[in-house]
Subunit: 345 residues, 2 copies
């Protein structure tokens, strides 16, 4: 059996020496190396920015969506959207475990797992499409995937339905990072607070900012704002277009008496929201960019352009114990669990 | 006289409601608004990533470089490279000050200044090219530019030549941020440490990390590594291709006995160096991305893909007092001043 690198570089076809994520093409042959895990895939949870782009390109036609997804995987050996660069995650069943992982992994054949590494670096083969659930970015398939030795995963919990767990794990990094960033008394704005990761961030921010803090939810539609309000996830609600920096600046200025936010968490899956995030932040404050639609140069030059001394952080989908932290929100909050079950599971 | 917005939104032609930096086109008519400053431009210091791209596109032909630069400004009303998204900065003389800035600014007509906001948001008109200094990314022109009310600038110091001050101010954010990030005892890697901002970062990192710290310089060419070594800017030197993540991982592992770096500062102006930066960082460490060639998604998904719990920060060209901090390096270090004078001034 062939020996693999922990990071999966042995699967990279082009360019040579690259890692699987930046690689243009990886080998999706399903014969495993000695340190790989073979997964029988059930569901792909496509990254929201990626799926939005695919739906637009396909004009929302199901057959067209399938054909785009199929050609992405044929081209690259992985489901990495060529426009957004992003992937998503998957759930499935452990089918084979490479012999050199024995004693190193707590997994066994037959375990139901979610992979917590991006599809943008996961060798994948799609044999058949079973169901496309457009509104939740989920696609059931028959197919196989490979998990590398350094790849992170979560064994699916048995006290909640799999699709519920998957929808939470998909954005697990966001609430876990929020928990680590927000301090008591902070003013926090969640841009895209009515969305999937946004609601989890709001809940976590409110818990951490406490009674002396201010948590502000920005959403773009009445219906989703109403839903978030009902669940009491924030202290203030703003209806606005997330790309309208000047409008948001004025609205947050009013709520905060001109003080602006200590922490802005951006979870919006559309482009051009960098300046809004920057203008809402006070000097010395933090912008956490979770959106895969974030443009690095727009953020870097945007802050400089308006002379703002703020910390802008690249959202890292992984932080220690993020799966446990985020899954626990479904146990902690009945409201969140009800909403997530209704919308995504 | 027309009243302007502090952020310059009154100059945006397309799309409406955007800020000048993300805008596709801004108005470069040189009749000032009440809160603007008109500058008689002498030198453009084009962002290194941008100028590298322009030189490549022009196959290094001087007339072709002029024609590309001219058409960028004609299209956009500002010198924002359409490929890299980045700008640069300029020096010139204050020609007019809008009346509503009286008492708000310390500038007066005739002052020699460097603008510290990006050219990617600065209304600019190029009337004539005077000299193109390819090797230092500087272009002397006859032309005019506008500084907005929120725009930052530095009055040029009189104890050093203007071109020397300009070359330092161009990358002023990098050493100032390094000063704020690095703590005594830290292991610091500067990727691109032999370059302009890289050398300033090394100097600042060594000062902050102190005798118990380790400062590692990564460069790609013998000649520039030799120069940096002679100036004693780092404790260790690695010659490597900045995009070769696996090679760099091994080399930094060896120097640090497997501990890896607390802080990695990326100042490399080529794409695909995100993974190298991530793999060299220890869990809980920091990557500071100063390179305008950084890709947000590659960084975000790269860290997740290898399960690294690290903080990745978007390099902010502005931080409080960055001009003063960086100019002072030219007074503090004879070696740096000598190198900068030779290379850039």
């Amino acid at each position: 059996m062939k020996k693999g690198c922990p990071y999966g570089t042995h699967r990279v076809i082009e360019p040579k020496g690259a890692l699987p994520q930046p690689a243009l093409k990886i080998n999706n042959d399903m014969e495993i190396y000695d340190n790989e895990i073979l997964i029988d895939v059930q569901t792909l949870n496509v990254d929201s920015a990626s799926f939005t782009q695919i739906r637009q390109e396909a004009k929302d036609n199901i057959e067209e969506i399938k054909s785009i997804m199929k050609s992405i995987v044929e081209d690259k050996g992985k489901h990495q959207n060529p426009v957004t660069g992003s992937g998503g995650m998957l759930i499935g069943t452990v089918e084979k475990i490479g012999p050199s992982l024995e004693g190193k992994t707590d997994l066994k054949v037959g375990d139901r797992i979610a992979t917590l590494v991006s599809l943008s670096l996961t060798p994948l083969r799609i044999d058949e499409f079973v169901e496309i659930r457009k509104d939740v970015d989920q696609v059931d398939i028959k197919g196989k995937a490979i998990l590398f030795e350094s790849g992170i995963y979560a064994i699916l919990p048995d006290d909640m339905p799999e699709n519920l767990a998957l929808s939470v794990l998909d954005v697990a990094g966001a609430p876990a990072q929020t928990a680590k960033l927000v301090k008591p008394g902070d003013t926090v704005v969640v841009l895209g607070g009515t969305g999937k990761s946004g609601m989890l961030c709001l809940y976590e921010a409110k818990k951490r900012a406490g009674v002396t803090g201010k948590v502000i939810c920005v959403g773009s539609r009445d219906i989703t704002i109403e839903r978030t309000k009902k669940a009491n996830l924030a202290d203030y609600y703003i209806k606005a277009n997330a790309t309208d920096a000047v409008d948001l600046l004025e609205k947050v200025k009013e709520i905060t008496n001109g003080e602006m936010a200590d922490v802005v968490i951006n979870t919006v899956n559309i482009p051009n929201t960098e300046m809004s995030s920057i203008l809402m932040t006070k000097d010395g404050g933090i912008v956490y960019f979770f959106s895969m639609a974030t443009n690095f140069t727009k953020a870097a030059l945007g802050a400089e352009g308006v002379g703002k001394d703020i910390n802008m952080i690249v959202g890292n989908g992984y932080t220690k114990d993020h799966a446990a932290i985020s899954l626990n929100l479904m146990r902690e909050s009945e409201e969140l669990r009800r909403i997530f079950t209704e919308l995504y599971a």
